[in-house]
Each structure stands twice: as C-alpha cells, then as structure tokens.
C-alpha cells in the first residue's frame, strides 16, 4: 500500500451517514486502522480503566495491566499515591516488570539491571561509571531523562484510570454526571476482589464495544433468561448515555414487569423464530435471586466507558471489565469480580454462584464470544461495505427507554470518528 493511511482510510472506508447508522466493515479488519487507534484512541484524550485500588492496597503493590496493547504497571508508591507507567525499560525496551502482580521496592529490568522507583524514576544503573575508569556511560548521562514513560492517573472511589494525553479533561468531566454516579454507586463502600476472569476473542475489539452498546441483542442472542422465563426484551429497561454518547449505561429494573409488558403475551414479537417460549423451568433457580443492595431498582446496570472499560452489575454479580487489544483480529476481556468487605457469608457465596451468569462461561453472556467471531470472520473482505445500525431510529443520539435499540452504538462511533479525524457523512 503506497497511499498514506489517511488517504487510504478516507478513500476506502466511508461513513455515508452523518449519524453513523452505517459502519464500514474495513474499520474492524485493517491493521493500519488498528495502529492508528492505539495512538488516537487508547493514547488519545480518554481515561482508560486501569485497575482498582483494592488490588494494590500496600505500598509497593503492583499489577501489570494494559492500555490498548501497551503494557502498563500500576503501583502504589511509599507515600501511598498510585502511579502508572509503561512497562518498558528506558534503556533497550525490555519488559521491566515480568511478574503480573506482586510487591517490590523498585522495578528492576533483568536484562541490564536498570531499576526504577515506584514513580517510574530511574534510580539505579549498574556500572554507570564503568569499572576502574573503563567503560560505563558517558559522564553527561542524566538519569532524570531516562525514567519509565508515565501515564497520568486519576482515581474515583477506588477505580484507577489512566491517560497518555495531556489534553484529557478532568476525569469527572470525562465521565459526566451519570457515569460518575454509576462508579460512586458500585463503589460506595470498601470492596473485596473475588477474582479474575479472562477471555480471548478472535475478533476486532470494536465488535465487542458495539455488543456492549446493543441492548437489542440481549433478548435475541442470549436466550438463557428468555428460555427460563427470567427476563425478556419487552421488560423494563433502556440505555442512557453521556452528553457525547460515548459511554453507555444499559439498564434493566426490578419490580416485576411494566404495564405494557403485562399486556404482551409471552413470545410476542419473536415471530416464527421459535424463541421466546418461557415454559421451561430451572431445577435450581436460587442463584437468580437478587438481594437488593442499591437504593435504586436497577438489577442490571452495565456501564460501558469509552474506549474499552466497563462496569458490570448483573444482579449481585459485580465486576470491572477491561478490553486489552492484541491486534485488529484479537482482544482479551479481563474482568475483575468483586464484592464488599462487609458481605456476610451468605452474600459472598451468592455472588460467587451468581457469577455463573457472567464471563466466558456465563449463562447469559457466553454467546458474545461467538457473535463477535461470527461477524469478524464474515467481514474479511468488502471493507467498503457497511453494518446497518437503525434500531431505535436514525438521526440524533438520545437516551432509549426500551431495550429494542442499538442507538448507543452510534454514540460510540460518533466519538470514535471525532478522535480519528473522520467526519461521518462528509462527501468523499
């Protein structure tokens, strides 16, 4: 390819509609677009979910995470402050911290033993002055210029975010009031980490961010709750976004069924798909119970935070998810499940049982891995053709008071286009 990326990008992949109701397939498959995203999206003016303070409670505690595909160390310094830095030695580019998690006083690169303190400063270089006057670094070598690349950190209720950009607005402004509240809601008291789940999906990461912003698929692809009569698309729920439309809250509420739903016979709207039958029962439905623990009535609240973060409440199952990209064709979902420090034994056990609903083996979520790969496989060619995004209507982005909508997908793409320097609907 000899054309410049921008030229190539604009000539090949088009957004024919200004409302992003058409998304070009090529943006999910092109390795050059992927590289551009690392710079303009993940390292752009965004706050990426990094980790939870509860994962690094003590000075010296660290975890290695990723922003897009860049490995990042998150740690707590001696004074208790949280720092993040790229896990790449300033000397020769080696991985500095090889452990995934642990506790240390300094991060030491095993290659030539350069060591960095918990703020990323270079503090040790063996044989800097050589030996007996021979060898070593030049006398004007300044350690202050060779620290680890730092990632700016902001914390809200124990959730650690990081940004590479100096331009990024303050965290709460970036989240907006709704998503600031969602974090404060889930992290309203001290948490306890219950464990991790990882899933590797062989598809483009944006097929998953699309999936998170498409409530319409919930009652069509994920049939566990429909089959066993637990929930359906006609239930009470919807989607709310921030002012940009970049973040999305998909929600469903407790309190039985809405009036509209009470008048709708089971299976209505499913046509002749053979789905929507709710006559089958589980032998042990106990894990489905919801113990109310928030002041509101939400039983499902998934906040998808641009670009690759998510907060999950599925009943009493709580988790933070992070998308870690690997290439245009592969990404990981890393989920950190948690409960609260004051959970009694029964609630702690309930959360662990109810975790069966979520994650790679989740009874209501396993299908997502398959759906993403089905799309990714089929769009290998014809990058100039488009996905259709019209459930919930065209035009301006607005909150949805029902689940039969994929409007929040368009919100994501409008912001994506803004950061990538693309004007949707512009003539070519």
């Amino acid at each position: 390819m000899t054309a410049t990326l921008r030229g190539h990008d604009q000539a090949t992949y088009t957004f024919p509609e200004a409302d992003c109701s058409r998304i070009p397939y090529g943006l999910y498959r092109d390795a050059e677009i992927y590289a551009l995203e690392q710079r303009l999206i993940f390292r752009g003016p965004v706050w990426n979910v990094l980790a939870l303070e509860a994962e690094i409670p003590q000075p010296g505690d660290f975890r290695v995470v990723a922003v897009g595909d860049t490995p990042v160390i998150v740690n707590r310094a001696k004074d208790g402050s949280v720092h993040a830095m790229v896990n790449r030695c300033a000397h020769r580019g080696s991985t500095v911290q090889r452990a995934l998690h642990g506790n240390c006083k300094v991060h030491t690169c095993c290659y030539h033993q350069w060591s960095f303190d918990l703020t990323g400063k270079l503090v040790g270089v063996p044989f800097q002055k050589g030996l007996n006057g021979a060898g070593g670094l030049p006398p004007d070598f300044d350690k202050a210029e060779h620290g680890l690349e730092t990632v700016r950190v902001a914390i809200l209720n124990g959730v650690i975010f990081g940004t590479f950009s100096e331009e990024t607005e303050p965290l709460e402004a970036y989240l907006g009031p709704l998503f600031t509240h969602q974090i404060q809601r889930l992290f309203h008291k001290p948490i306890r980490v219950l464990g991790y789940q990882r899933q590797r999906i062989f598809g483009n990461w944006k097929l998953y961010t699309d999936n998170l912003r498409d409530p319409n698929h919930g009652g069509l692809l994920h049939m566990f709750q429909i089959t066993f009569g637990i929930a359906r698309l006609s239930g009470t729920g919807g989607a709310k976004m921030d002012a940009d439309g970049k973040h999305n809250l998909s929600w469903a509420a407790q309190g039985g069924r809405s009036e509209a739903e009470a008048e709708t016979p089971a299976g209505a709207g499913y046509g002749d798909t053979g789905r929507g039958d709710m006559k089958i029962k589980l032998r042990d439905p106990s894990m489905l119970r919801y113990f109310k623990e928030f002041p509101d009535d939400l039983t499902l609240a998934i906040s998808s935070l641009f670009p690759g973060g998510a907060l999950q409440q599925i009943g009493n199952t709580l988790a933070v998810r992070q998308i870690r990209t690997r290439s245009a064709d592969e990404f990981d979902i890393v989920s950190t499940f948690f409960g609260y420090e004051d959970d009694d034994e029964a609630l702690a056990r309930h959360r662990l049982r109810k975790a069966n609903l979520a994650g790679p083996a989740g009874l209501v979520s396993m299908e997502d891995g398959e759906a993403v790969e089905l799309v990714h496989r089929a769009i290998v060619r014809d990058g100039d053709r488009h996905s259709v995004v019209e459930f919930g209507g065209r035009g301006p982005i607005k909150d949805q008071e029902n689940l039969i909508s994929d409007v929040p997908m368009r919100g994501f793409w409008l912001h994506y286009c803004k950061l990538m320097g693309v004007t949707p609907g512009a003539p070519q």
Partner: protein, 158 residues
C-alpha cells in the same frame, strides 16, 4: 496412600468414561457420573494461586449441573465444535475412610466443523470420589485450568 490396583482400575475407568462422555456429547450421561451430593467447579490457576474464590463455572449441587447442561441444550448459542479430552495418568490415593482422591492432567482440544483443531484448555483435575451402589461417583471436582484466558468462550464442561 496409593489405592490398590483393582480400585485404581475403577478410578481409571471412571476418568476415562468422564472424558469419553463429554467428547461424545453425552452430557446428560456425564452428569450421572456425579454423586447426588456433588460440586463441580472450574477455576483458573491465576485465582487459585492468589487464593481468590471466583470460579469460571460453579455448580455446587447436582441440580445446578443439570441446569447447566439443560441450558446448553435449550438456550445457549456457542461455537459448533467437537471436544477431544486427552487425560494423563491418574493418581489415586485414600486415607482411611475418606473419599478417594484422584488427580490427572488433561488436555482438551476443540475441533470445528472444517476440522480445524486447537488446544482449548490444559490443566488438572482434582477429584473426590465416593463408592455408591451404582459404582464410583464424583463427589467433588475442581478443574484447575492453566489456560486461564478462555479462547472464545466456555460452554461445554472441561
């Protein structure tokens, strides 16, 4: 203490049947290899090593196990595949009247409809077995998966 060879053979037979039933999609028959009072759990090595209690799959009674299989049959959509369990040598021990404890390493390969095979999961089975009127049954099983990054999704049991 290592169990006598006749008992070891019965343990070996149960573990072989376990893998074969899963590979042959006889999931309902597989459930019946478990005792009435049973627990089946898939945990990642990562969580196990950090003493974190979260599983990838947790059925702490036989009805939950039946529901899992029922849901796979009736509700869930997952990658169309065939499993192939390659289970290593079984070690079986017993202390007095305690349940028989068995461990075995496993590899689980998945093949799609076109015959593309991949290593789906590798790890170890940890089993507590009890002798019942119907023969040896699994009372408690922990599958410790080294392949903690689940490729695509985890539907059929490991």
């Amino acid at each position: 203490m290592i169990v006598p060879i006749d008992l070891w053979f019965r343990v070996h037979d149960l573990v072989e049947t376990y893998g074969r039933f899963l590979d042959d999609d006889r999931l309902e028959a597989w459930v019946e290899l478990f005792a009435e009072d049973c627990r089946y759990e898939i945990v990642s090595r990562e969580n196990r090593d950090q003493n974190l209690p979260l599983s990838l799959m947790l059925c702490d009674n036989k009805d939950m196990l039946r529901d899992r299989i029922f849901s796979l049959r009736e509700a869930n959509i997952y990658n169309i595949h065939r499993d192939c369990h390659v289970i290593g040598l079984v070690r079986a021990t017993r202390e007095g009247a305690e349940p028989i404890q068995a461990t075995a390493a496993y590899s689980l390969f998945q093949s799609n409809q076109e015959g593309d095979s991949r290593l789906f999961s590798v790890g170890r089975y940890e089993l507590d077995l009890v002798d019942t009127d119907d023969g040896l049954r699994i009372q408690r099983q922990i599958v410790v998966v080294d392949t903690g990054a689940i490729p695509t999704l985890l539907a059929t049991p490991i």
